[in-house]
């Protein structure tokens, strides 16, 4: 398999972007002499980004979804939610920092917001457990979601996890039960729920927050029941076959749309959200607002019925779809 453009050119683009950041800082600090060079580099970078994105493989998207500078939930929450008040704890055991949960305003609309956070620095990653939530994290989200339903306000969920935490501590507190209960109970919340995979949609850890009225994915996010490396290792006993596995798993956003699992793919800055976090955040905000407007005014019973049917008939072969069964 020939080397992907991202593999060949991605590093050059990262280096260009780094130089651009530097120049931008200098120009903003008043060093006008660099503005020509800056404009030139920005143009070259955008061309390179477009070149790379013209031939992205599924594995490329996995790498973009895992890019170390990719914006995370906290970045989007800062960018689009006003007066965010963060809530903590599951009232049973502790607070899971792998999940941010709280209330705030989106363009003046009161919303509940949940976001999985992976962290960037070594210390942050330890604090957030690399975005691998534990039972108390999912239970915290259910507490907030019930409160949002009680108050009649929509719930926005940003999914970004390599998978749920599965170690002894999580087993001892019921990680499977927490994931199962979340999925079951999200079907009974009578407020609009919008779920968006912004990075890694890691299997059970993601679906535990993934029952919604509308499912969205950022352009380069992935959503899968297993990682491509895991799939290659288990099915073909060769983790090096991860690129083939990524393709077979149909884990990209366009794949999920075609499979009828998600409703919308949200565009990122060319080359990945990390190249244009504000622009991508604006796209994300726009998509969420548009989705909330679509869901506005639907009666509670209608909302719950269509949410149930959405998942009831996903992936059904021809002839087994919604024929009025429910």
């Amino acid at each position: 398999m020939s080397e992907s453009k991202l593999t060949k050119l991605g590093k050059s683009l990262d280096e260009l972007d780094a130089r651009i950041s530097e120049l931008r800082r200098m120009v903003e600090a008043g060093q006008e002499a660099y503005s020509d060079e800056l404009a030139d580099l920005e143009e070259r970078a955008d061309e390179l980004a477009a070149e790379i994105c013209s031939g992205l493989t599924s594995w490329d998207r996995v790498m973009l979804a895992r890019h170390e500078r990719r914006p995370q939930s906290s970045d989007y929450i800062s960018a689009i939610i006003d007066d965010f008040v963060e809530l903590h704890g599951d009232r049973r055991f502790g607070d899971d920092r792998a999940i941010i949960a709280g209330i705030g305003f989106l363009d003046g609309q009161p919303v509940a917001v949940i976001g999985q956070e992976k962290g960037r620095t070594i210390s942050e990653r330890a604090t957030h457990n690399f975005g691998m939530a534990r039972p108390e994290g999912y239970r915290k989200t259910m507490r907030l979601m019930r409160f949002a339903a009680q108050m009649g306000h929509p719930i926005i969920i940003l999914i970004d996890t390599p998978g749920a935490d599965c170690l002894e501590a999580s087993e001892s507190r019921g990680i499977s039960e927490a994931i199962a209960a979340n999925q079951r109970d999200m079907f009974s919340l009578a407020v609009p729920i919008v779920c968006m995979v912004i990075g890694e949609g890691g299997s059970g850890g993601a679906i535990a927050l993934g029952v919604g009225d509308r499912l969205l994915m950022l352009e380069h996010a992935y959503y899968s029941v297993i990682t491509p490396e895991g799939c290659a290792a288990i099915l073909w006993r060769d983790p090096a076959l991860r690129e083939r596995a990524a393709q077979a798993l149909k884990l990209t956003a366009p794949d999920a749309l075609e499979l009828g699992v998600i409703d919308k793919v949200v565009a990122e800055t060319t080359g990945g959200a990390h190249r244009g976090p504000y622009e991508t955040a604006a796209n994300l905000k726009g998509a969420v607002l548009e989705t909330l407007e679509e869901l506005d005014g639907i009666s509670a019973s209608e909302l719950l019925r269509t949410r149930y049917e959405k998942f009831r008939f996903m992936g059904a072969p021809a002839g087994f779809g919604n024929t009025g069964r429910c």
Binding site: A164, C166, L167, E168, S170, E171, S172, R173, G174, I175, S176, E177, I179, A180, A181, Q183, R184, D185, F187, S188, S203, G204, A206, I207, A208, G210, V211, Y223, S224, V225, I226, E229, G230, C231, A233, I234, L235, P239, A248, L249, K250, L251, D255, A256, L259, V261, Y308, F311, R312, M314, G315, A316, P317, F320, R325, C326
Partner: protein
């Protein structure tokens, strides 16, 4: 439909009249066990107490009234939503070799005349993994139980969600979890029995949503399946992914030997339907 008896029917071979599967070895202690005695012991080793894994028909035999089982939704077609390489041939080969159509058998059965909707999973069919057919059968089981006002009992055994159906398999977790919620809303009970082994996407969806959860003695269970643990190099200490561990941490209602399951289910069903 192939019955347990038919599957055990011995073929006469070059050694004369002794059928090849008259004796079985206990996978735990290597004791040679005489098949008819083993069957009378509900496929529990008389030497060490190891509970051997059961086929769906063996599970029916040790649980339900004879001839009480009526299959539902046996006709659902194999589904390959991703057109995953090698998947359909593998599924068809599994159908041939196991006699099952998919990893779960669903329908109606009774214990001492009390009817209930039943689901039984079996690891022999693609590792007991859940894809669309398993999710659909489990969901239809619950829907029909609501229509016919039946309690539901599901014997779970699974390696997890089916990789070859990826996102569609993942969505079955949500679908079956939602269905379990509708049973409760309809004031019907759901008993889940966790058997050896139950992992991953099945454990983290309908398996852990029983109103009453029974763990069968010796069953292995955990969120991360053993192959996932193996390929990610996770350190999973012994004793964590066990029924005993779940019971000690308050996650399951009871830990029962195989012999205790039928009478206990009967009492629960009597209580629920009184």
């Amino acid at each position: 439909m192939t019955s347990a008896d038919e599957k055990k029917a011995p073929a006469s071979d070059s050694y004369g009249e002794v059928p090849p599967d008259l004796w079985q070895t206990c996978p735990a202690c290597n004791q040679l066990l005489y098949s008819p005695d083993l069957e009378a012991d509900l496929w529990v080793c008389s030497k060490c107490g190891h509970h051997l894994r059961l086929t769906v028909w063996q599970r029916l035999q040790v649980t339900a009234d004879p001839d009480s089982f009526e299959e539902w939704d046996g006709e659902l077609p194999l589904n390959d939503p991703l057109h995953f390489p090698e998947y359909l041939p593998k599924a068809r080969a599994n159908q041939e070799s196991t006699g099952m159509t998919e990893a779960v058998l669903t329908g109606r059965a009774s214990i001492d005349g009390i009817a209930f909707g039943v689901g039984i999973m079996d690891l022999s069919f693609i590792g007991g993994s859940m894809g669309w057919v398993v999710g659909e059968r489990v969901t239809r089981l619950m829907e029909r139980a609501i229509a016919e006002r039946l309690p539901v009992v599901i014997f779970c055994a699974s390696g997890g969600a089916r990789m070859q159906e990826s996102l569609i398999a993942l969505m079955q977790m949500a679908k079956t979890s939602g269905a379990a919620g509708t049973l409760a809303q309809a004031s019907l009970p759901y008993v889940s029995v966790l058997t050896d082994p139950t992992y991953g996407g099945v454990l983290a969806s309908f398996a852990f949503l029983g109103d009453i959860i029974i763990a069968e003695q010796g069953a292995a269970m955990g969120f991360a399946g053993p192959r996932v643990v193996e390929v990610t190099g996770l350190r999973m200490p012994k004793g964590i992914q066990t029924a005993e561990f779940q019971y000690e941490h308050g996650m399951v209602d009871m830990l029962l030997s195989r012999r205790q399951i039928r009478p206990t289910l009967h009492t629960i069903l009597r209580w629920c339907t009184a």
